[in-house]
Amino acid sequence: MERNELVALMRLMRIEPENNEEIETLLQEMRAISAMAEELPQAEEAISQDNLCGMQLREDIHVACEIPQEVLLSNAPAVVDDCFAVPKTISQGGEC
């Protein structure tokens, strides 16, 4: 892995390094992990056939959430008009 790849990765994950040293350490670790992964077997593309008993699905019945709205919003750093407040976004929506 190259330094610029790591920086791009950090941007992608919205994480900034504390200092240059941290980047260097991280780089070393990423490379160590890459080396570790070298030992892994070649990938076989197959969904694991375990758990194929399948998943029990939920019935489409409304159940009111017993937690009041103010409690659900109470952990938010900023609430305006019952909405979560964030710095201005550019577009209307993210992705679909």
Partner: protein, 486 residues
């Protein structure tokens, strides 16, 4: 003449009309006060886990069968990652490598002709929240009511070749969703949205050109404008010797332009991987058979049948299937065998539609049942009442729960086709209008219309216009009429 052919593919996102959200028991409802349909699961609070709603899988499978897809008995939910404030968990639970339905074909009518587009896949996914921009607040506000609302995404192959065809495809897809009863398809509520891919290639070429993906297309008409704009933009670039780059562009409908969002190099890396909080979705074979067999007759098949079996025009057939309830009503009309299907459709698309549009009352909420409507039409078809009398009868039928015959009798609308009776009326009218008779004989035959009108008036609209015409012409020609003739 344009030397480039447009190659268009669609990704249609339809919100499903389930009671509850995809992964929690919160109400799936539009228009509630901000953050009132929320719970720890759709807020993505630490420690919460998704539980898949059975009704979503059912609706997706229905759509799959309707589009002739292969249904994957085992499919998988995956996580698609990106950061945006409207996405609580910073990933959307969707389906990647193994969607619930694949490889179908959608047939529809475009411009009176049959078109088709291959369906690459249908998958289930959750919707994101909504960002509100309030002038009173400097930032943006997030309302999570829509978080976790179930969507199916229908992805077509790039088989469409024009704006019109793409529009017909979208419109027909909407109608199909309505007929299956799986989505309300309320455009203004954003419950059906699409992304479009547009590329150009020279006529005769096999290979596709680089495509541009258009996001933020909020209505079908916006899709048409966006596609038209892209075709123009790309044609200009190619004609000037330029190259089209693979990019994602944002459609700004108000400005009528598309704006570069990101190029291929900056393509978002969604880091898909299987959702570990959910097991694979495994469908029961018997259940799948039941779903397949319970599929209703689809709009395309209906239209084809209406055209072939009943002789309806493609336009009328299309108008009928546009609304499932109208379509059901029409089907019931044809089952009465009281009148011809063509008359039934004409009346439904004419007077009945006028009434329901003006009043906003659904057809099924009126006193007019298919049987009553067809009885009334039968009177017109047999010439027992005039067409205009039919309209009057119908408007009375909307007001009161009465049989057509009752209304006809009460209003005295039964049409006079009796030769003798009409001769009598004509005789009176001619007697009162000697000037017109003279004019007629002097060659001004267009006074006939005036005389017919006078006769109609004298009969309070009950005279059969066709018979009346014959009678009048005969009398004016021979100068008299035999009242005893039948």
């Amino acid at each position: 003449m344009m030397k480039y052919e447009a190659v268009i593919g669609l990704e249609i996102h339809a919100e499903l009309n389930t009671q509850t959200k995809l992964f929690c028991s919160c109400r799936n409802e539009f228009g509630a006060a901000p953050n009132t349909n929320i719970c720890p699961i759709c807020l993505g609070l630490p420690g919460t886990l998704p539980i898949l709603n059975a009704a979503v899988a059912e609706r997706a499978v229905k759509m799959g069968y309707a589009l002739g897809c292969t249904i994957n008995r085992i499919s998988r939910m995956d996580r698609k990652h990106y950061f945006y404030p409207d996405l609580p968990k910073a990933y959307q639970i969707s389906q990647g490598a193994v969607p619930i339905c694949e490889n179908g074909v959608f047939r529809f009518y475009s411009n009176g002709k049959t078109s088709s587009v291959r369906i690459a896949r249908i998958h289930m996914e959750e919707d994101a929240g909504k960002l509100l921009h309030d002038a009173a607040h400097p930032g943006s506000l997030v309302d999570d009511n829509r978080c976790g609302v179930p969507l199916i995404e229908i992805v077509t192959q790039p088989d469409l070749r024009s704006c019109e065809e793409a529009h017909a495809c979208l419109e027909s897809m909407r109608i199909l969703l309505l007929h299956l009863g799986i989505s309300d398809c309320r455009m203004q509520e954003g419950s059906i949205r699409c992304d479009v891919n547009v590329s150009l290639r020279k006529y005769g070429e096999e290979k596709y050109g680089n495509r541009c993906e258009l996001k933020n297309v909020n209505s079908f008409s916006a899709a048409v404008r966006g596609i038209a704009y892209e075709i123009r933009r790309q044609t200009e670039i190619l004609s000037a010797g330029g190259q089209i780059l693979q990019e994602t562009r944002r459609w700004d409908d108000a400005a009528g332009i598309s704006i570069l969002m990101r190029s291929k190099e900056d393509a978002e890396d969604y880091r898909f991987f299987p959702e570990p909080d959910l097991l694979p979705v495994v469908l029961d074979e018997k259940w799948m058979q039941v779903q397949k067999q319970s599929l209703p007759e689809l709009p395309f098949e209906k239209m084809t049948r209406y055209i072939k079996e009943f002789g309806l025009s493609a336009d009328d057939a299309f108008l009928l299937v546009q609304q499932p309830e109208r379509c059901r009503f029409f089907d019931q009309c044809t089952e009465t065998h009281l009148c011809t299907p063509v008359s039934a459709s004409r009346w439904m698309l004419g007077e009945v539609a006028k009434f329901t549009n003006e009043t906003g009352i659904a057809m099924t909420d009126t006193f007019v049942t298919p049987k009553k409507l067809c009885e009334m039409i039968a009177y017109v078809e047999r010439g027992e009442i005039s067409h205009s009398a039919g309209k009057r009868v119908l408007s009375e039928m909307f007001k009161e729960d009465k049989e057509p015959l009752e209304i006809i009798e009460a209003l005295g609308l039964r049409q006079i086709s009796d030769h003798g009776a009409l001769c009598k009326i004509a005789k009176d009218v001619l007697k009162k209008n000697p000037d017109s008779v003279r004019d007629y004989h002097a060659g001004k035959t267009r006074v006939l219309g005036y005389l017919v009108g006078q006769c109609m008036k004298a009969s309070r609209g009950t005279a059969n216009p066709a018979v009346l015409n014959t009678v009048l012409t005969a009398m004016l020609g021979e100068g008299d009429c035999d009242e005893t003739t039948v």
